[in-house]
């Protein structure tokens, strides 16, 4: 499974990658912002995208909007501290599938990732 982690903070990316490793996901690419993520997505196929919200150049939600114009099937999890109702509603409307709220406990994050992937597998099988 190939995963893309998008966050402008190297520390945040490292924390997420540690979680992914614990969940058995070793094939991880990293992007610094939404623009870089779109550039990777244009030439790679990912089975999961983990996206920060608040980033310079292009925010995570702008990147999600662009991704969803072409791709409806890759699960996207927003990894952000912005867990209020307004942001959650906006994210879901634009195509985000789940949320990991920073700061997160690794076990909680793994559980959200696994649940999201399971939900996608079930939906894809049904289709």
């Amino acid at each position: 499974m190939k995963v893309l982690v998008v966050d402008d903070s190297a520390m945040a990316r490292r924390m997420i990658i540690n979680v992914l490793k614990r969940a058995g996901m070793e094939n991880v690419q990293q992007a610094n912002d939404g623009q870089e993520a779109l550039s990777y997505i244009s030439t790679n196929e990912y089975q999961l995208i983990l996206m920060d919200w608040n980033m310079p150049n292009m925010t995570g939600i702008e990147a999600v909007e662009k991704i969803r114009e072409k791709d409806q099937t890759t699960p996207i999890i927003m990894v952000t501290g912005l867990g209020d109702e307004h942001h959650v509603k906006e994210a879901i409307k634009k195509g985000v599938n789940n949320f990991i709220i920073k700061p997160f406990l690794p076990d909680k994050a793994i559980s959200i990732i696994k649940d999201t992937l399971k939900q996608f597998q079930t939906t894809n099988k049904a289709n």
């Binding site: 402008d8 903070s9 190297a10 520390m11 945040a12 490292r14 924390m15 608040n54 980033m55 310079p56 952000t80 501290g81 912005l82 867990g83 209020d84 109702e85 307004h86 942001h87 709220i101 920073k102 700061p103 997160f104 406990l105």
Partner: protein
């Protein structure tokens, strides 16, 4: 903000010149003159909870909160400062200030290796700390107010030769913290903003 004797830091000179009540009255007048109102305590609590949550979750380290004080300006008295601005339903700035020793201890714990110099890795991590603190508080406040609050990307400053002129004549609420990783300061200046739902 309810004002009581505990909410003020009084220096030695002021102690000699004024009684606590007299000082409190003077401070309140100054704050009201500069901002139109004294900052509301309800706005600081989510930031305090968010700092505790960050330390307990990411750094596995409980923090001790010291006495809150009001300041008329942001003294750059610590080595590293990270800022984030808030806009929307509330407007203001949150700043976390660290001595180098504390910043290095915190980042060493996250990376599980000894950081001995303040480099881009350390500054990036400090920026992410303030981002998580601001976002945690933003979520609490936005849900309570049922209005949208946006955050800027963090700005990090090293050194003590700077001054903050925004927001003009703001009053800062300052909360010192201590922990096994060292001391640090949370500073917030905030007011209710004008928003659309």
């Amino acid at each position: 903000m309810k004002l009581d004797n505990k909410t003020f830091t009084i220096n030695e000179g002021e102690k000699n010149r004024y009684s606590k009540n007299k000082f409190r009255e003077l401070f309140k007048k100054k704050a009201e003159k500069s901002t139109g109102s004294v900052p509301q305590a309800e706005f600081i609590n989510p930031f305090i909870s968010s700092v505790s949550n960050l330390f307990e979750t990411i750094l596995e380290c409980p923090v001790m909160r010291e006495e809150l004080s009001l300041r008329m300006n942001l003294h750059p008295n610590l080595d590293i400062v990270a800022f984030i601005s808030l806009s929307g339903a509330i407007q203001g700035t949150v700043a976390l200030s660290f001595p180098t020793k504390t910043a290095l201890a915190m980042v060493s714990r996250v990376y599980q290796e000894d950081m001995i110099i303040v480099d881009s890795t350390v500054m990036d991590a400090v920026g992410e700390f303030v981002n998580m603190v601001a976002a945690g508080a933003q979520s609490i406040l936005a849900n309570e107010m049922k209005q949208k609050i946006e955050l800027s990307v963090p700005t990090m400053v090293r050194g003590t030769c700077f001054s903050i002129d925004y927001p003009s004549q703001a009053t800062w609420l300052e909360v010192p913290f201590s922990s096994e990783l060292g001391v640090f300061l949370l500073r917030v200046t905030i007011k209710r903003g004008e928003t659309e739902n």
